[in-house]
Amino acid sequence: MKKQEFQTDLPVMLPVTAKTGEGFNFRLKPWHGLVIVGFCIFSSRLGYAQSDTVQTSSLETLVRWMPLLLQGFIFNLVISVCAMAIGTVVGAALGLGQISLNGWVRKLAWGLTQFFRNSPWLVLLFFAMFLLPFELRLGIFAIPLPDWLKAIIGLSLPVMANVSEIVRGAVTSLPSGQWEAAESLAYTRRQTLWLVILPQCVKRMLPPWMNLYSILTMATVLASIVGVSEVMTLTGQALAAEGGRPELLAPFYSFVLLLFFIYCYPIARWTVYLEKKFAVIN
């Protein structure tokens, strides 16, 4: 039995964890949420107990800032969706380039994929931030490139490279018999690819693609380092506005952790579920 393996550089542990242990039967239950909320309250209490000069309690302060932080988080999600869309489209094209019959196209696509896969996300983000112009001139039109748009572009670069690798991995993991069977039925290469190969690959690509999206979502906070006003930046500003009270740090950061956990954990569970389901079919 040959296990399918995707050549991504992501923390995709799917090939190894295909043997299930107890961890896989772990289901999100209501009380898990309670534990996390409890942790937030506890950590804010902790800070509360530590502060000598009590203005407002940490929890109250957090609740007051919550709407703004949530707005920031939604901005993170917008960035993640846009970067994922761009990265998927360009990456899919690059991935198909990697299996092209033309040697030069294949080498170029491979080189680009490797280059952007091996670079840290943060470096790529800096790269986009500092090297893209503040506006694009197309003849008489000037398209402004605000920071958040640059961030989307910067984050879509590693996404693109990883999608490319997911596509290539899925196509090459299909048994060669599929190509031969289609060829013997006089399909052209293009027909084989679009009618036979790719439809089968979608299932194989979905779990790693979702895993990638989850990683991308978590990477959107990197944009705070380059000054995009997403949730982490706003958290910093909120903390500064409250006068940098140290007891506020834990509850605020826990809240941000919680937001991401609530969003990413179900995706991770779903990914594992799909992976298991498709493994059974295959």
């Binding site: 040959k2 296990k3 550089d9 992501l10 923390p11 542990m13 090939p15 190894v16 964890t17 295909a18 043997k19 242990g21 107890e22 961890g23 772990f26 534990v35 950590s43 902790l46 530590q50 490797q114 280059f115 091996n118 670079s119 840290p120 996300w121 943060l122 470096v123 790529l124 800096f126 790269f127 500092f130 090297l131 989850s214 978590m218 990477a219 959107t220 906070v221 990197l222 705070s224 380092i225 982490m232 140290p246 740090l249 834990a250 950061y253 826990s254 941000v256 952790l257 991401f260 956990f261 990413c264 954990y265 991770a268």
Partner: protein, 248 residues
Amino acid sequence: MEAFYEWFRVLYDDTGINLPFLYDSYDRNRMFYGFLMTVKLSVVCLFFSVIIGIIGAWLQASPFKWTRRLINGYIQLFRNTPPLVQLYFFYFAIGSLLPKVATDYGGQAPLLGNFAWAVISLSFFAGSFNVEIFRSGIEAVPKSTVEAAEALGFSRLQIYRDITLPLAFRVILPALNNNLVNLVKTTTLAYAIAVPEMLYEANQIWSDNVNVTEMMIFMLITYFLLVGVLVWGMDRWERAMKIPGYGT
């Protein structure tokens, strides 16, 4: 060597391509120590994350339900939240709760510096992946092979040392290497709490010299080469460790 360095000064004068980390000894040192810091951070985090992975995998096999739940909770929490926020949480939130210690100069310094916090945070992050890796590796060793060793009179410890671990290690090597490569890339996050690693030093240099383009391209190439060499080396290692006819 000096002539080589000087050539880049000439290059700057002639073309405006400014690579001060080559011709300027001060910047050269900064860049070099940044590189060393990246390597040091990676190695130290690798060490601790492997330890976390081994202990976690061992605890995950614990007969106590709550121990297993705790480990699962740790894994899920660290895998599904941004490592940057984890780093901030450790460095700012927990760091501010720790007592301060007196320095030699009579001042006050935090108990743990930014390097220590980066190590702690990144080790826990990478460790959360390692737990699953180690567990699956040990599970992948066939029970019948262990039984054969039992029938030959091997003791439990001998079986663990001579059979289970060597086999498990080979099974998990690709995943472990994958995680290591990710770890090296994740060390750039330490930039955010001013650990003077490569990206941070590059930032210092481009702030001083206003040569963002050159530095940025240099960073991309450097990381590409660093990670590329690592991947290549690991690949060779995996191939050397491969047992004929075992696995896949």
